[in-house]
Amino acid sequence: MSNESAHGSHVQHHFVDSDHQFDTAKMGMWVFIVNEILFFGGLFCAYIIYRTWYPGLFQEAALQLDTFWGAVNTIVLIGSSLTVAMAIRSVQKNQIKGLRINLLITIALACVFMVIKGFEYSHKFELGILPGSLYTFEGIEHVQAPVFFSIYYMLTGVHALHVLIGIGLIYWIYRRATKGEFSSEYYTPVEITGLYWHLVDLIWIFLFPLLYLIE
């Protein structure tokens, strides 16, 4: 039945062939993505509850966030999602050079995102907008002001952690691509890392309006 030629070196012994392995890996990744969405879902839930309790605070506190740089970061991440998609397209067409270039651009964009985020954080730290009990900022009248920023730091912090992990993963894929491990026959890790990166992008697309664009 399963002919030996389909059993390339990358196919693990318990799979019938390459397609079988690819389908299984992709399914596993989708299950993991569902789990990630629920993970952020918990934080979104906390956000919704506190926004319902203190609607005025959320409008006032959101003014402290820099919408311009937030928007730039949104564009940067959407761009990186595009380059990841292009990377997958390249490897499907067996263009390994295209794959590597697109991966590098993705890493670069992700780093730009982190740098901008870093500036945003440090600006707030200088103002005394620190998380939780360290909060000393006096520009917002509302007594519960620290709670908004606690939620802000939790949401963006956990997201930034995901971006960092993503950078690590894409760099790992890039290294493997350089070693010539991928081809149009086998690119499962590229595909599932791409899925992960789209998720990171998607979460930011929700975070941006919810935190920065409250009217």
Partner: protein
């Protein structure tokens, strides 16, 4: 074995493979040595490593329980301080829930059995499976660090604001430990879902999936959907303690009831993570030892999924007296009753399976009998605490303590013991001592009821849980309970003794000592490194005891294994099935 085309049906020539009785090479003889074990990606070895770790924690949690019960012999101080007592019950709960009951059946026994019941060589992601084990160990290390520092005294439920700003213990270490542990659970769940979907042997349709796998499937779905909420809750709690972010702390505008909602949104489904896998074991053992087709296959399979689904909507029943909104309380109470229905359906289907069977009360079956009795009591008392006005009286008393011990221990742990004895010959290749097995089961049954029946009564009279001192009125109940717990302890020691002994000088186990029709029993005992040396082809359901054994031993010669030209049987398959099982 080229398939022949015939009017949309394709024919598959299969051969009978009778498992050899004295396998020379097994997964235990291949790849030996400590390093090979530690780096193995074999699901069987990983399953065993989980079982060993779980056994260690069970021993630890059990000793804590005995210390607790000893302290409660007298109304005031018996031999330890109040703070120590509070730490002991917290750790007993946290260890038993997070380190024992949640991983025991899925990650331990399940890891071993699941690919074998699918006729697969391994789980979908073997390296992830190993990672899952080490993540579990890392979580355990964090917890031990907490123990070495200030321990934990918040109760396993970590209610705020006590846990966030009042407790002087190492809350952060434990919450981080359990946060990490959660990923072990998530990864195992993910792995099993993909495995069940993608790695079924030819012929295993959803309707021929052993009920054990339906249970594990339902469990995995809950693990993937609920555990991330626990993760984020514990992360928030950690940040609360670390930075004072104030989401759950009333002193900073937060809400402690919100924590309870978050916590139970995971922890109630987690109750089903703990009990649903036990249902799978019951279905397997009860059919084998009554040689009978399961009664109501689809009712049992779908009730697992129904429990998994409704289980997500009942978390608020832990909070009837917490100050949550009255509407929420009403809805949660109603849904709680709905989740009781599929559970009741299962029990009655199992009892009906025994009707006109050929019942052999070997040790595993005795445990399943115990399960049916004890779990029913757990279920009925669950209805009691689900009833709103009754729960107002019984909430947070020993009645609740007894209720969940009847479910968690009388249900899950007893079924786990049944499963462990049932699969022991398959896992180790040795037979345990049947006589000692029955004695130990009897001791545990007597000890268990002696421990927890009095707790129903004293709880109902008004004894609150988590009490270091108690008023004199309750003394007799506590003392009976304590003596019962010692009997349970003796029972477990006896099990540990004869199981360990069987490893050294136990009788060699036959491939299929119980005459089961299930697929895992058609491999050698213990199995080969890759489970089967052929590709099993399944044409019958796992409980078709009315068909001869030959029909359950069919397969295709593996391209890596022995070649065989002759065939014993021809199976017809539709084109779709052909494609689904990757038969080209």
């Amino acid at each position: 074995m080229a398939p022949a085309e015939d009017s949309n049906k394709r024919k598959l020539q299969v051969k009978r493979f009778v498992p050899s009785e004295n396998p020379k090479r097994t997964y235990l003889t291949d790849e030996t040595g400590v390093w090979a074990w530690m780096t193995t990606v074999d699901h069987k070895k990983i399953g065993i490593m989980f079982l060993v770790a779980v056994t260690f924690f069970f021993f630890l949690g059990g000793v804590l329980a005995l210390l607790l019960r000893t302290e409660l012999l007298t109304p005031a101080k018996t031999f330890i301080e109040a703070d120590t007592y509070n730490q002991l019950f917290t750790l007993h709960g946290a260890i038993m829930v997070f380190f024992v009951i949640i991983p025991a059946i899925p990650s331990g026994l399940g890891n071993f059995i699941l690919p074998m019941q699918l006729g697969a060589k391994d789980v979908a992601f073997p390296r992830l499976n190993l990672a899952s084990f080490y993540i579990y160990i890392t979580g355990a290390i964090f917890t031990f660090i907490a123990l070495a520092l200030n321990g934990l005294d918040t109760g396993w439920t970590f209610y705020t604001p006590y846990s966030s700003s009042h407790s002087g213990s190492s809350v952060i270490w434990v919450t981080m430990g359990i946060f990490i542990l959660g990923f072990s659970s998530i990864l195992t769940g993910t792995n099993f879902i993909a495995t069940i979907h993608k790695l079924r042997a030819p012929g295993i349709t959803w309707g021929k999936l052993p009920l054990n796998l339906w249970s594990i499937y339902a469990t995995s779905v809950i693990q993937v959907l609920a555990t991330p909420i626990l993760a984020i809750t514990l992360l928030l709690l950690t940040m609360e303690r670390f930075l004072g972010i104030g989401i759950f702390d009333p002193a900073m505008g937060g809400d402690p009831v919100l924590f309870q909602h978050f916590f139970w949104f995971y922890s109630h489904p987690a109750v089903y993570i703990m009990i649903v896998p036990a249902f799978g074991i019951v279905s397997e053992v009860i059919t084998t030892f009554s040689k009978k087709h399961i009664f109501g296959y689809w009712a049992i399979a779908f009730s697992s999924l129904a429990i998994a689904f409704i289980g997500f909507l009942v978390w608020g029943h832990h909070m009837f007296v917490s100050g949550q909104s009255p509407v929420a309380t009403t809805v949660f109470s109603f849904l709680t009753f709905l989740v009781g229905i599929p559970t009741g359906i299962k029990v009655l289907n199992w009892v009906a399976t025994l009707y006109k069977g050929s019942i052999d009360l070997k040790t595993p079956m005795i445990y399943i009998y115990m399960f049916l009795f004890l779990f029913s009591i757990g279920g009925f008392t669950g209805v009691m605490v689900g009833a709103l006005s009754a729960d107002i009286h019984l909430h947070d008393t020993y009645y609740v303590v007894a209720h969940f011990h009847y479910v968690m221990m009388g249900g899950t742990i007893i079924a786990l013991l049944g499963g462990l004895h049932y699969w022991w010959p398959k896992i180790t290749g040795k037979m345990y001592d049947e006589f000692k097995g029955k004695i130990a089961a009897g001791l545990i049954f007597v000890g268990f009821n002696m421990t927890f029946l009095p707790q129903f009564i004293m709880g109902s009279i008004g004894m609150p849980r988590r009490y270091y001192n108690y008023i004199d009125q309750f003394t007799i109940f506590h003392q009976t309970s304590t003596i019962g717990s010692y009997i349970i302890g003796i029972g477990f020691l006896l099990i540990a003794y004869y199981l360990a002994k069987s490893l050294y000088n136990g009788e060699q186990a036959p491939a299929n000592p119980w005459g089961s029709r299930a697929l895992e029993w058609q491999a050698t005992s213990p199995p080969h490194l890759h489970n089967f040396d052929h590709i099993p082809v399944v044409i019958n359901g796992p409980y078709d005891y009315h068909k001869p054994m030959e029909e359950f031993q069919l397969g295709l010669a593996d391209s890596h294994g022995a070649h065989s030209k002759d065939s014993d049987k021809t199976i017809e398959m539709t084109e779709k099935e052909w494609v689904d099982y990757n038969l080209d």
